[in-house]
Symmetry: C2
Subunit: 304 residues, 2 copies
Amino acid sequence: VVAAPAALIGIDWGTSTARAYRFDVGGNVVGERSAPLGVQKVEAGRFRAALETLLGGEIPAGSPLLACGMIGSRQGWVEVPYLDCPADLTAIAAALAKVSDPALAIVPGLMCRDADGVPDVMRGEETQILGALQEASSRQAVVLPGTHSKWVLAAESGIETFATFMTGELYAVLREHSILGRLAAAGSDPGAFERGVRSSLVSRVGLSHELFSARTLALTDALASAGVADYLSGLLIGAEVAAGRRWLESRAADSLRMTLVGEAMLCSRYRRAFAFAGVDADIGPSDAAARGLWRIAQRARMVP
Amino acid sequence: VVAAPAALIGIDWGTSTARAYRFDVGGNVVGERSAPLGVQKVEAGRFRAALETLLGGEIPAGSPLLACGMIGSRQGWVEVPYLDCPADLTAIAAALAKVSDPALAIVPGLMCRDADGVPDVMRGEETQILGALQEASSRQAVVLPGTHSKWVLAAESGIETFATFMTGELYAVLREHSILGRLAAAGSDPGAFERGVRSSLVSRVGLSHELFSARTLALTDALASAGVADYLSGLLIGAEVAAGRRWLESRAADSLRMTLVGEAMLCSRYRRAFAFAGVDADIGPSDAAARGLWRIAQRARMVP
């Protein structure tokens, strides 16, 4: 018995990892594979070979292919121009870029501009957002925590605007390369995380001042070295929550329902930080990228 | 003719560099030597040898020795407890720690606490401040830019309180280890610096969001790669100026005279940033550390 070809193969192709989903005609994920073959790890010109490896050796004939993420960046397979916000599902589905061998469509990233005209960009998160919002219809805030966290205003009809916060990258460079990282011992300390979040939430000065408290509290034995990393994480996430809420206020959106989308542990960490700020946040579906790929493929008539 | 022994040998002994000053009986610097023998570069137990090298081969007999800076830290020659703020010249001079071989006195660092009891610390800057303020008598703000910038409220009588901003260290780790640094090409661009400062000064969101604009502006060719480093520097210094002014406001000190103390190029960079914020700042004496060492030695009766 030969299995029917997949109705769609969707690929969430990021900077460090690529993940492929095999869908049946009902839009259900019936198979999933991932590989450390992100855009940063594949040489230019080698994306076809990487895709073959990701899919288990060969690219199956008869299944449409749709990818999202950094695969559409300047360092990716083909550079797909950013689509301007607001951008709805129809506009995104109409702007797919095409690779001809194999026949692969790529979801465009999105660009928005703030009141001063400064651009902000995303690639891949637009697909997760569309996947997370399938059931929702009214304006709401979606937060996708990560290396470059995205705060997004969206509705069922599409993405209105967004703002990026470099929280995860700041944590990584400070943890690995700064005097604060050198004070940190291995360990986890939920109390230190909470203390960091609360410090940033009430800060009357600013992040570059608050960060130094990780050093002075450790120096005066008011913070154990095993708590330094979680305290630092708390300071940075707390600063993001405070700044993100100011951003929502500037958009008259601070009373909207909030949904966290992303990796489960990180979403739960952010949810705790939101709770310290008195904000309830839902956690969205963990398969948002797959749902978004299916939804875009439907609108683009790549699937029934 | 044998030269008279120096009235004082003062040493500004920091993390990476040590600098020695030879004073005559009038408190004038008549000789100066420096060496890359900062505390981080000298093994424990080897400080006497490092001092001999710094002073040109031997430690001269008959001259009192006074040092300030990280040499009094846990990683230094002896750990000198922090003195609590407010701390005036007399209290600092009374709290010198003593090394017996050779007879060397070390200036204590200072500690203060904010309204929530969170400590802040300095070592070395207290001496520069006392040196910069010799002529002044009224309450004023002193800013010492650097790896860990210090904003200080002080008067002729001593140091009231202060706050640290990790501006220089954030710049270094982001420049060397982040995605922003990878976008930067060699070059200097005063216009990009100004743009960064102004962005941070008017930011309604927060630093971790503003930082991402270095990436998006470069990506959209709205910022040349040769300007990325100066733009990043501007964002960070602008954020410090905005945060430091909030800190001064919280101390009812935002209308005080401001003085910048430190390395000439960096002070001039900060003065420009202050000007964009509509604030005039004086630049203090470039020999503030030497002046402060002399002043402390006088008060401690180590010199006539």
